[in-house]
Assembly symmetry: C2
Homo-oligomer: 516 residues x 2
């Protein structure tokens, strides 16, 4: 029994009772793709990308700006010149061959465990925003309380499969301590899986320690419970911070996203297919390194993709080339048999306007049809990631639920029964009162809660409420109904003690570190 | 040489000259699909839909509420009971077998001719809005001048392949005369292909007469120049108005869209696959009838698709089931070898807000990946079709251009050259000054004109201009640069004389007739 289900039984009095009883916050299982994927390349083209990437790894090499990684690679038999590592294609293939094609994410609530990889997709909220647009749509610096708000919403929105980590940056807390409070917030306010901070090797180790308290040290050895992200510095550089954090995760057998950070045209060639060839080489080099650190540990083919406006230098999202690159990267990841991550709902709009809608929906469709496994940044992203919008967060989550429904494909179980209804009704009739309709209407056609489809007269009579206000009202109603999925008290106390100790040990620093 | 190209040479002085010279209004050729289509059904499921539809036609029958059609069907050998026509599946297959799988639309400017069908797609603006949101974003009743504005924009927006017909209803003109003025406006302000009114059989004949003046009577016999639309009354009814208009077009060898009008759950079963089975039966019955009227005349498998909110009865768009139905209908049309039409950018938002963006982009992606040939309602639709928004019109057209770019697929022509750039730059460099970048950046990554990707500081410094205002500024700039693609003066005079004569013959009636 999930905490959510308990919540629906235990609570509730007065006017909101009915609403609560009908609100189902049960998490959707991972999406199992029921549509054919959009495969933009034929087999020969996949092999052309593979060959180009392997040639880059062999002949151009990759910089690992990190003494430990260089030593690891030397021991593994790679050719090294200075910080540049040259990777033989057979070696790369052999290394990535031990990455599991699928595994299960274990959550503290077993009802929220997630079978992951192959034809399954999960939606994870955006992270890393230095600003938020709050419950009054005011853009401001976020606090730990704001972060908690997003973790609560993540907990309650059925299409979101994770509480992620620093959805917004808690600016009211010393930067050197933030990773501790962020991790605690992810765990405390939600019992879904979550992400772990990789802002430094030591921070990543703190996250691992907290996970060990929550799940048990032994448990971690065989159970992926958290996800880290390591960004590359395209072209073809991995740095010490990211590699150290990666090692902290790999050593505890926890998956990292190996994410080249692509600003197409600026740090890659100004062309789609060659950009994918470079990105693929970068991802492969990091994926291979995870297996040098620990054979068989889970790892995820990642990337952050934007294209750059050659007029202004601004990053762009929702563009045709990003859709094409997603289609291609999905094919490459499947070619290598490795789960992969993409980004959803990216965009550069300053407010929650039509631009935000177009960009987000275009990207959602393309990542779904790409067969992406780990669909990160699925809720709240706006202004090129500079702010997370509460209004957009709940609308994006509903859009994910709609995309989920589409991607499940077509139901055929009531086909003959419904055809009998066509015979019953005949030409010129209507179906509204037919038994098949009454039995099926609730599941037949998705009814978005946050989109208004009424007539303009009715909409005006109800106060001409715009989508931002509707969405914020919805978020407020969710938060009013929120019930904390209680942590075991002893575990909770042990984590808090750990955090208190680490906060005594780590000097409180307010300057920005090299967070990604 | 296109009139547009002439225009760029002939005109221009003063400050706007530079802008005009860089604005390319040359129409994009029909999209040739370069991505695999999303096929939601396997062959067995396609055949299951086909068998179900054929059983409906044979055993439930279709009402043709029109004495001439009933007589035509009787002569063709169909079984008839009252107004209900029962169509044998072999008969249906034999009839639709003579519909051309592809043909060319001929425009008065030959540069705007459109090869059509199979793997080609064209974008056609929305039509039928009883209101507009104007250049000041004010919602009001449209005039003939407003209609002209939309026809001018259609002429200038490269991704739009048609000027359509009554994009907005010219409310300042008697309803009984409107079809004449609408047709003239479509022809006068644009030299792309257009649509013909089918509001009554006589109106459709007037449109055919105007086309005959414009192109020549003989020419029409072998050249599709215009498109009509005939809506069905689901379930399984075709009425006299539509059938009479259909005949007017078929007799002159001009294509009609045979469009069942689906409000999923209200006039179809509450389930996706059975809805497609019914819609398919309806479309087939009308497609077959076009071939009874004239063997071999072009015809297009159509539909209008929305799902109905079972809470409020409101039509909904951008929903997952509409995407699924588009995927399926595309497969059915290809199974029968008939070109097909869908609707783009439908939605129920009251303003040009985020809802409008999500709904439009979702639908654009799904109709593109469905392989739709005639992508109607591609610009301007909002408020469930109750208004056409100028702001949304230009943004939608840019989105179509972006979707077009995606659907073209991946370029490989510079692959080796760009890989050489990867070697030149090496790890840690950047590509901004590289010769490959300088040569390719303009075509490499789509740069939307109407989306703002600048930083919030820059956006604020430039006045925090919202997307609606940006789009309206863009529309105003386009209209300021508009140059009429001149009609031959004798032809123009003859059409105007025809219209003047018909307006004397037809009583001016202001009441609403049964327009669709």
């Amino acid at each position: 029994m999930t905490v959510a289900a308990e919540g629906r039984v235990r609570r509730g009095r007065g006017a909101r009772k009915a609403a609560r009883q009908t609100r189902d916050i049960t998490m959707l299982p991972p999406l199992k793709m029921g549509l054919p994927l959009t495969e933009a390349m034929d087999q020969g083209q996949i092999e052309r990308i593979d060959a180009a990437s392997m040639a880059i790894l062999e002949e151009v090499g990759v910089i690992f700006r990190d003494p430990i990684a260089l030593e690891d690679w030397a021991q593994a038999g790679a050719k090294i010149e200075g910080e540049r590592v040259y990777l033989d294609r057979e070696h790369v293939r052999e290394l990535i061959g031990s990455i599991p094609a699928e595994f299960t994410y274990f959550a503290r609530n077993p009802a929220n465990n997630l079978p992951f990889g192959r034809d399954r997709s999960i939606f994870v909220p955006m992270t890393g925003a230095p600003y938020l647009r709050d419950l009054d749509d005011v853009r401001r610096g976020p606090t730990l309380d704001d972060l908690a708000t997003f973790h609560k919403l993540s907990h309650m929105l059925p299409a979101l499969h994770s509480s992620a980590h620093h959805i917004v940056e808690p600016m009211d807390h010393p930067v050197s301590h933030r990773h501790l409070r962020i991790t605690y917030s992810s765990i405390k306010h939600s019992d879904k899986t979550f992400m772990g901070m990789t802002t430094s090797p030591k921070n990543a180790e703190d996250v691992m320690d907290i996970c060990a308290i929550l799940f048990g040290d032994e448990y971690l050895e065989t159970h992926p419970v958290v996800t880290g992200n390591c960004n590359g510095n395209s072209p073809l550089v991995w740095d010490e911070t990211m590699l150290g954090a990666m090692r902290a995760f790999c050593r505890r057998n926890q998956p990292v996203l190996c994410s080249p950070f692509v600003l197409g045209g600026a740090n890659t060639p100004a062309s789609v297919a060659p950009t994918v060839a470079q990105l693929n080489a970068e991802a492969l080099s990091a994926l291979a390194y995870t297996q040098v650190v620990r054979r068989g540990c889970p790892a995820i083919y990642g990337h952050y993709l934007s294209t750059v406006s050659m007029k202004s230098g601004a990053p762009m999202a929702g563009t045709p080339e990003i859709s094409l690159m997603n289609f291609m990267i999905g094919q490459m990841a499947r070619y290598y048999g490795v789960p992969w991550r993409s980004s959803n709902t990216l965009g550069g709009a300053k407010t929650f306007d039509a631009q935000a809608g177009y960009e987000s929906a275009t990207t959602l469709m393309s990542v779904l049809l790409s067969g992406c496994n780990y669909i990160w940044h699925s809720a709240g992203w706006n202004e090129a990631g500079m702010h997370c919008s509460i209004a957009k967060f709940v609308v994006d989550a509903e859009q994910c639920a709609m995309g989920y429904r589409m991607a499940e494909g077509i139901r055929w179980d009531d086909f003959d029964e419904a055809l009998a209804a066509v015979r019953d009704i005949g030409p010129g009739g209507h179906y509204l009162g037919h038994p098949h309709t009454l039995e099926n209407f609730q599941r037949a056609f998705f009814m978005p809660e946050l989109f208004d489809n009424n007539s303009i007269e009715q909409w005006q009579a109800e106060g001409s409420v715009e989508i931002t206000e509707r969405a914020l009202n919805h978020a407020k109603a969710l938060l009013a109904d929120y019930e904390e999925p209680k942590l075991d008290e002893a575990v909770d106390e042990e984590i808090r003690d750990y955090i208190a100790r680490r906060e005594r040990e780590i000097p409180a620093v307010d300057a920005l570190n090299n967070e990604h």
